[in-house]
């Protein structure tokens, strides 16, 4: 009985510590990799001779809601006839293939629709890998609201 009480005290201490936000194991070591604040507005990354701007709306960017992705290119003209696409995932965790196929929206802009799913681990750092056929790919790492 004494052992039982001690164990329960121990267990409830752990629960208390874990339940208090920001105490033990707040958790997402990948937050340091964030290179883009999509909640605030579009982000830009560079490829050789091409600048890639990614915008996601509506803002702030939330999981499990329909999102519109817009990629705008500037610099060298594309030689490929294939449209760019975006692969959504989490750094360091395989979440399965989640591709947003983009279509030309006129000029150097491409648009598509997609959903960022929710990870029960609580990690909120997501990665959008934008691939420009025949030109390369670039990564936008950002926070998502759950």
């Amino acid at each position: 009985m004494k052992l039982f009480i001690i164990t329960f005290c121990f267990v409830f201490t752990i629960v208390f510590l874990l339940a208090v936000p920001g105490s033990v194991s707040s958790g997402d070591k990948y937050q340091e990799m964030i290179n883009c604040d999509l909640h605030a507005g579009p982000c830009t990354q560079s490829l050789p001779e091409i600048t890639v701007t990614l915008d996601v709306t509506p803002r702030p960017v939330k999981a499990l809601q329909n999102l519109f992705f817009r990629v705008t290119l500037s610099g060298k003209q594309l030689t490929s006839t294939k449209d760019p696409f975006i692969d959504l995932g989490m750094p360091g965790m395989n979440m399965g293939p989640n591709r947003v196929q983009l279509k030309s929206a006129g000029g150097n802009s491409y648009e598509g629709q997609g959903v960022i799913v929710k990870c029960p681990s609580g990690r909120r750092t997501w990665q959008a890998t934008v691939t420009i056929p025949d030109a390369g790919q670039t990564e936008f790492i950002f926070d998502v609201i759950y």
Binding site: L64, V115, V117, P120
Partner: protein
Amino acid sequence: MLSTETLFLLYLSTGFTIGFGHCIGMCGPIVVSFSLNLKEKSIFIPQLLYHLGRITTYAILGAVVAAAGSLTMITANIDAIQKGVMIFTGALIMILGLAMTGWVPLGKVFGDHSSPGGFISKGFGKLLPKQSTLVYLPLGLLLGLLPCGPVYTALLGAARAGMDAGSTHQGVLTGMGLMAAFGLGTVPALFLVAKLADMGWLKSRAIIYKIGAGLMIIVGLLFIVKAIRY
């Protein structure tokens, strides 16, 4: 666009690779808990029933999102249920852990060698003589609702396949089949983990059982904490 056969293979292989990466970390504690709790009994049928239940739930979800043509519409409605399932899972793992310590007489609930007439077993006993084993099927059905990132991603694909299908009927069948293929793909990894926890050398050591029970209680608590934060 990919053919339906290619999509099925893609979902099966995705489930397989996700199983060995993501699922072992996230759902491994559940199958290990079942495995440890079965002690001397064979894990094969209980695990089979659990996975059958889980795959059935995935298939139903696949059919629903394919019919709706949207994942977000469905998740908005089952969010609270998923949270409840996560809390239930945490509580279940904790109870199984406590049962292993001997502090909770779980046999009175599920039925075992000393108490074959547990109240859940009695209910299922009217259906089949294999009393305590059958409980793993409804557990799998329920735990298939656990919130899971890769399952959501697979459901996104099922919703798209539903939209691309020629008719609602065809879409529902495709969505159902794709999710079943995905679930089937995750089975080998989880079964392997369950089998590793079922090794004889582990069972022969009471101290390992006690440590396992302690870990299960902690893992169960973590599930509950995650559910509260979800």
